[in-house]
């Protein structure tokens, strides 16, 4: 069992604080989902956790060793980030083959056969230039790098952006196949929360530069519920409980409740209690508008 930890991680760009004394502990051998609003700092966090970005303060450790410029630690980590290829960026002229060739040179556990096999099943032309690929195909390239890296800790930033629903299903199956076979640790950031919820063992919610929640996905879904009814009834039924995102319509009120172990919605009140999916829980926790 290995541990990848962010310890009091802070990152600022000038006056703008992106990550604020963030603490996170990742156990090896799980698929983690990283969700957060745009600009919450997901890419920055993953970037720092893979030596691609220096911290402003705090550090990232792997089994206690600081990963910064640490060759041994970095051999176990791979962050396949979204390839942002503009027409002018030099990488646009790289062919898929050349890019994967560079990956093969750098990633110590690179699996050549897997990369070739995935290129075939994604129907990617090795001679195609990165600048000419569609967003979906670029996503496929980043997926190939992540999978074939065979890194113990693999991070993917929005891997399914640009993929149609069939391709996304293929990705989840690929991810599960690889996970069940190797037990590698994956951290996957995504905006398509509901689809990914089934695949993620634990969900990590990043909001405004801090981790507000890290929990087993099923446990979180089990303890969340949506209570609706007459406003006064609802207020009494949920008194003392952790409530989020209250919504009012006329005399009725709806509120998202996260029950702690042993807690229940107050009985005897005329309210409807419904389960919530992960996406709705996320919106309740991170969407501020209704307040």
């Amino acid at each position: 069992m290995s541990f990848l930890r962010c310890e009091n991680l802070s990152k600022s760009y000038g006056q703008k604080v992106v990550l604020n004394e963030l603490n996170l502990e990742l156990e090896s051998g799980k698929i983690y989902g990283l969700i957060g609003r745009n600009g919450a700092g997901k890419t920055t966090m993953l970037s720092i956790m893979s030596n691609q970005n220096p911290t402003s303060s705090g550090m990232v450790t792997l089994d206690g060793d600081n990963i910064w410029e640490n060759r041994k630690a970095l051999d176990r980590i791979c962050f396949s980030r979204e390839l942002n290829i503009t027409a002018e960026s030099g990488l646009a002229a790289y062919t898929v083959k050349r890019y994967l060739g560079a990956a093969a040179l750098y990633l110590p556990h690179w699996d050549k056969e897997m990369a070739a096999h995935l290129m075939q099943s994604f129907q990617l032309d090795p001679k195609a230039k990165l600048g000419k690929l569609s967003k979906g195909m670029l996503s496929m390239v980043t997926i190939i790098v992540a999978m074939a890296s065979k890194a113990e800790f693999t991070f993917l930033d929005e891997p399914v952006a640009g993929l149609d629903v069939v391709a996304r299903e293929q990705f989840y199956k690929l991810l599960l196949d690889e996970y069940t076979e190797t037990g590698r640790t994956f951290v996957i950031s995504t905006h398509i929360i509901e689809e990914a919820a089934d695949v993620m063992e634990e969900v990590i919610i990043l909001n405004k530069g801090k981790i507000i929640l890290k929990e087993n996905t099923q446990d979180l879904i089990d303890r969340a519920c949506y209570v609706t009814g007459l406003a006064e009834q609802v207020d009494q039924a949920v008194s003392g409980l952790e409530c989020h995102h209250p919504e009012s319509l006329g005399r009725s009120k709806g509120v998202t409740v996260l029950l702690k172990s042993g807690e229940h919605i107050g009985s005897g009140f005329d309210v409807t209690v419904q389960p919530l999916n992960l996406q709705k829980i996320f919106v309740a926790l991170c969407g501020e508008e209704a307040q």
Partner: protein, 209 residues
Amino acid sequence: MRLRYWAQEGLKFTGIIMAAALFYTFLMIGQDTRETWNEYLEMGALYLGMFGACMCMILGTSVYQVHAPLAISLGSTRKEVFLGIQCYRFVIACILLAVAALLLMLTGETAHSLVWTILPLGVAAFLLFNSIGAVLGCLSTKLGRGALIAISILTMLLCVGGVGAAVLIIALKYSLRGNVVLVVLGIGTLVYAMSMIFEVLTIKKFSVK
């Protein structure tokens, strides 16, 4: 050590430079048939050195805009990137100077003149132009496109003058004494060393955008 990527990229770049130099030489041959064979070889060697040094300066930013981010995004440490950049420049300079020396040997240039005058000047040229490329590259990580283009143009104008001076020196190569060559080489090394310090400071904080 992950230098293979940098060495490979250096070789690719060298190939491009040699092709450009060859093309230009043939262009010159096509224009003026009065020159002797020897003079064409000398021209070829000169162009190799010129194109090589100039390209190193002008495209010094690609190392920081393309190769370094790629390397770091694939797990390279910044120390490896720094060494890789040196390796990249070393490969280019070595091959181009070696080929240039070969061409000059074919013209009957003496080994003595080659080793004590021409090659040191070639090395000095590469050191100087690479330092400029290094500084421009480091600046490219901090400045926007506009500022960078302005600085690059200014530098290029400076260097056109510098290249002119280099051509002059080589034309006068027979009248040069060893001391001047050593001084030029010394200056080149010093300037490069300073640019390396700037590079180290830049790379230490390098982040992939």
